[in-house]
C-alpha cells in the first residue's frame, strides 16, 4: 500500500508540474491583458508539434526542440497580442472570441501540416529511476518536473526582483496608474504574452514524448487550466501554482483509487466548492474575479 501511495504521489508531482506551467501562463496573460485566452490549450499543442517537427522529423536534439518550442510559441503569443488582443483592448469579450477563432486556426494548421492522427515521437530516454521494487519514475518525467520548478522560480524572480517584472505587476494591478507612471502598457502586454504563451509552449514541448500529440490535444489541457485558475483565483500566480498542485494530487489520487471518470467529477466539484465558499478563488481578489 505504501508503494502504491508513493507511486501515486510521484504521478501527481509530474501532473502538477505541467499543469502549473500552463495555468501560470494563462493567469499571466489574463492578469496583464484582462483577456481569457481560449487558445492557450492550442499554444500547448503548438509546443508539442514543434517537438514533432524538430526532434521527431528533423532529428535535432530534444532539448534544442524544447527551446525552439518555447521561442516559437512565445512569438505566436506576440502575434496574438498584436493582431488580436491589442486592437480589441477595450473589448474583453472581443478578445475572448478572437482567441476562440485563433484556436480553430491553430487546430486547422496542425491538421494541414501534420495530418489528423497521433504523432509518433521517439522516446527521449527510456531510463527509469527505481526508488524501490514498486516505485519508479521515468527520467523523461523528471525532466518535466525539474524544468517546471526552474522556470517558475525564474518567473518568480523576474516578477519580484526586476524592473520589467515590477512593471508587469503594476500593469496587472492598475493599468491606468501604471501608464501614468510611464510604464508602457503595450510593452508589458508583449512581455506577458511572450512569457505566458512560452510557458504553455514549453509545457507542450516537454510533455510531447509522454502523451498523444494530435491536433485536438489542447482541449483537455485548457479545461484543466481553467479549473485550476478558478480554484486558485483568477489573476493570482501563487493561487495558480497552489491550485495546480491541489488539483493534480486530488485528480491523480482519485483516478488511482476510484477511477478516471470519478476524478473528473471530483475536479469539477472541487471548483464548485471553492466558488461557493470563496467566489474569488483561494487567492483571488474581488476586482479580478
Amino acid at each position: 500500500m505504501l508503494d502504491l501511495l508513493a507511486q501515486t504521489g510521484l504521478n501527481a508531482v509530474y501532473a502538477a508540474s505541467y499543469i502549473s506551467l500552463v495555468a501560470v501562463g494563462l493567469v499571466l496573460i489574463f492578469g496583464v491583458m484582462g483577456v481569457i485566452n481560449f487558445a492557450h490549450g492550442e499554444l500547448f499543442m503548438a509546443g508539442a508539434y514543434v517537438v514533432v517537427a524538430v526532434y521527431a522529423d528533423m532529428h535535432m536534439p530534444f532539448f534544442l526542440a524544447v527551446i525552439v518550442g518555447l521561442l516559437f510559441v512565445g512569438f505566436l503569443g506576440l502575434l496574438m497580442e498584436r493582431a488580436l488582443f491589442r486592437p480589441l483592448r477595450d473589448n474583453p469579450l472581443g478578445g475572448l472570441v478572437a482567441s476562440i477563432g485563433f484556436l480553430m486556426i491553430l487546430q486547422s494548421l496542425a491538421v494541414m501540416g501534420f495530418g489528423v492522427r497521433m504523432e509518433f515521437i521517439p522516446p527521449v530516454t527510456q531510463h527509469v529511476i527505481w526508488l524501490s521494487d514498486g516505485i519508479s519514475i521515468p527520467l523523461a518525467r523528471v525532466y518535466v518536473i525539474v524544468a517546471s520548478v526552474l522556470l517558475l522560480s525564474a518567473l518568480w524572480y523576474f516578477l519580484k526582483r526586476t524592473r520589467f517584472g515590477w512593471a508587469l505587476r503594476a500593469s496587472a494591478q492598475d493599468p491606468q496608474a501604471a501608464e501614468l507612471q510611464g510604464i508602457s502598457i503595450v510593452q508589458t502586454a508583449r512581455i506577458a504574452m511572450f512569457i505566458g504563451a512560452g510557458l504553455a509552449g514549453i509545457a507542450g514541448a516537454l510533455t510531447a514524448p509522454l502523451i498523444s500529440v494530435n491536433p485536438h490535444m489542447g482541449h483537455s489541457v485548457i479545461v484543466t487550466a481553467f479549473i485550476v485558475i478558478i480554484v486558485g483565483g483568477i489573476g493570482s500566480l501563487e493561487g495558480a501554482i497552489i491550485a495546480s498542485v491541489v488539483y493534480a494530487f486530488v485528480h491523480t489520487f482519485v483516478t488511482t483509487f476510484y477511477g478516471g471518470v470519478v476524478a473528473d467529477i471530483t475536479g469539477l466539484a472541487l471548483m464548485l466548492l471553492v466558488l461557493i465558499v470563496k467566489p474569488t478563488g483561494l487567492f483571488g481578489s474581488a476586482d479580478r474575479a
Binding site: L4, Q7, T8, N11, A12, Y14, A15, V111, V116, R117, M118, F120, P122, P123, Q126, V128, W130, D133, S136, P138, R141, L210, I211, S212, N214, P215, H216, M217, H219, S220, V221, V223, H251, T252, F253, T255, T256, F257, G259, G260, V261, A263, D264
Partner: protein, 430 residues
C-alpha cells in the same frame, strides 16, 4: 375508423412503420442510374479528431478498392457496367455532424449506400436512415437494433470477436488466472468491457476489480496504469481503447515494470509501441487485427480478394499507416458489390435483400451467417470466424481463426448477462 383498424390488428408501431415506408418512396432520391453513370458510395466517418484513426485509413483502403474495381470495368448492374465513386464526409465523430453528412450524401450527392464507423455517431444518423430507407453499414454491431432494418454490420463484429482472443489466451497461458480491464467511457468502450467480462468468466479468469473507466479526454495514463498494476494481475486488458490510449498505456506499463500478459482489441501502429518500449516487452501481445501481408490471409477460406496484394498497395501508398480499419470498409464494399450485381440494382432495398439471401454471406475471414437476434434484436451482423493475432518477434502474426458463433452457443448467456449489467443490450440503449 382508426380504432377499427387498430382493433383489426394494426398496432401503433406497424402503422408508424407503414407510414415511414410510404415516406421512403417520396423522400429517397431516384436510385435509377443512366448507363455508365458512376455509382456513388457515401463514406461518413471521422476523418479528423481523436477517432480519425478508425475513419481515414478506411477511406484510403476504399480508394484502392475503387481503383481496382474501376480498372476491372466497374460494377455490373442489369443495365450495364458502372464505375464506382466514393463521396466522403467528415463527421468528426460528432452525432450532429453525422446527421448533416448523411442528409447531404443522400439528398445532394445521390449516394446508393453509406458506410459509417458507427458508435456515438449512429444515434444522430438513425432518424435519417428511418426516414429515407437508405442502406447504412457500421463497424459496430452494437449499433444494431430491430428499429433499424437498413443498418448492417457486415465486416467487423465488434465487440463479440474479442472472445476469440481471450479463448486463445486461456488456452495458451493456462496459468494466467487473474485480469484487470481499463477502457474509455464511451459507446465503444462499454460493450467491449461487457464482452471481455463474459469472455474471462467463461474461461474462469477472475477479474480482480471493477473495470477502470476513464474520460476520453485523458492524456496522462500514469495514474491509470498504477491502479491497474496495484492488484498484481496476470493479465491487463486494454479493451477497445483507441490507439491514442493504447500507446501511452503500454509505455506506462513498460515504465512501471509490468511483466504480465496484455490483450487488446487493437494494436494499431504496434511498431511505434515497440520503439517506445521494447520488442521483448511487446512479445505475446494479443489483439484481433492482422496485417494483410500475413500468409494466413492467402488461404482458401479468405473472401477478401488478393489480401496480400491489397496490403502491398496500401503500404506503398500510405507507408506506416496500416491500421485495424484499413481493410474493413473495403471488405464491406466487396459484399455490397456482390449483392448489387446479384440484384442487378444499386437500390438499397434490393441490395440488402440480395445480401442476406439464404442467411449466409462471404465475410472477409470466411463464410459466415447473418446473425444477432438475441444480442441485437435483428440478424443484421455477419458473424463467423475471426483471427487471433499475436506480436511475435516484433511482427503481427495470425495464430488461428476461431468461431464466434461456436463461443456464443456455449456462453451466450454470460454475454447477455454482462451486456445487461452495462445497459448495452439493444432494448436498453437510449
Amino acid at each position: 375508423m382508426i380504432s377499427k383498424i387498430m382493433a383489426a390488428g394494426l398496432s401503433r408501431r406497424t402503422f408508424l412503420k407503414s407510414t415511414a415506408i410510404t415516406a421512403v418512396g417520396a423522400s429517397l432520391p431516384s436510385m435509377s442510374l443512366a448507363a455508365g453513370e458512376p455509382i456513388k458510395i457515401g463514406f461518413l466517418a471521422p476523418l479528423t479528431g481523436a477517432v480519425a484513426a478508425w475513419g481515414k485509413p478506411g477511406l484510403d483502403g476504399c480508394e484502392i478498392w475503387a481503383e481496382r474495381v474501376n480498372a476491372a470495368g466497374g460494377i455490373e448492374l442489369s443495365d450495364g457496367k458502372h464505375p464506382v465513386e466514393l463521396v466522403s464526409y467528415d463527421n468528426e465523430y460528432d452525432p450532429a455532424k453525422a446527421r448533416t453528412g448523411a442528409t447531404q450524401l443522400i439528398r445532394e450527392d445521390n449516394v446508393s449506400f453509406i458506410m459509417m464507423l458507427g458508435g456515438d455517431t449512429w444515434p444522430g444518423v438513425q432518424p435519417v436512415a428511418d426516414k429515407t430507407g437508405m442502406l447504412f453499414s457500421t463497424l459496430l454491431p452494437s449499433d444494431l437494433s430491430p428499429d433499424s432494418t437498413t443498418l448492417i454490420a457486415p465486416t467487423e463484429v465488434h465487440p463479440i470477436y474479442l472472445v476469440t482472443g481471450v479463448d486463445y489466451l486461456a488456452d495458451t497461458y493456462p496459468d494466467a488466472k487473474t485480469a484487470v480491464i481499463c477502457a474509455q467511457d464511451d459507446a465503444l468502450g462499454l460493450p467491449s468491457v461487457a464482452t471481455y467480462l463474459a469472455a474471462f468468466e467463461a474461461r474462469d479468469i477472475e477479474v480482480l476489480e471493477e473495470p477502470l473507466l476513464f474520460d476520453p479526454a485523458t492524456t496522462d495514463f500514469a495514474p491509470i496504469v498504477t491502479r491497474l498494476m496495484s492488484s498484481n494481475p496476470d493479465i491487463i486488458c486494454l479493451d477497445t481503447c483507441y490507439s491514442d490510449y493504447v500507446h501511452p498505456i503500454c509505455e506506462q506499463l513498460f515504465q512501471q515494470g509490468y511483466k504480465g500478459k496484455m490483450i487488446s482489441a487493437t494494436a494499431d501502429f504496434y511498431d511505434q509501441m515497440i520503439a517506445k518500449t521494447s520488442k521483448e516487452f511487446m512479445e505475446g501481445f494479443i489483439f484481433q487485427f492482422p496485417d494483410f501481408d500475413d500468409p494466413a490471409l492467402a488461404g482458401d477460406n479468405i473472401n477478401f480478394e488478393d489480401a496480400n496484394g491489397f496490403y502491398e498497395a496500401y503500404a506503398e501508398r500510405h507507408p506506416g499507416q496500416w491500421g485495424a480499419v484499413s481493410w474493413e470498409y473495403a471488405s464491406i464494399m466487396d459484399l455490397w458489390k456482390a449483392a448489387a450485381e446479384k440484384a442487378g440494382s444499386a437500390d438499397p432495398e434490393a441490395v440488402i435483400t440480395a445480401m442476406k439471401e439464404g442467411g449466409t454471406g462471404k465475410h472477409a475471414f470466411g463464410d459466415a451467417k447473418w446473425w444477432g437476434t438475441e444480442l441485437f434484436g435483428i440478424d443484421n451482423a455477419l458473424v463467423g470466424d475471426w483471427p487471433v493475432v499475436v506480436i511475435e518477434d516484433g511482427k503481427a502474426v495470425i495464430k488461428g481463426f476461431k468461431s464466434i458463433p461456436d463461443w456464443y452457443d456455449q456462453h451466450g448467456d454470460l454475454l447477455i448477462k454482462h451486456m445487461q449489467a452495462y445497459d448495452q443490450m439493444y432494448d436498453q440503449r437510449g
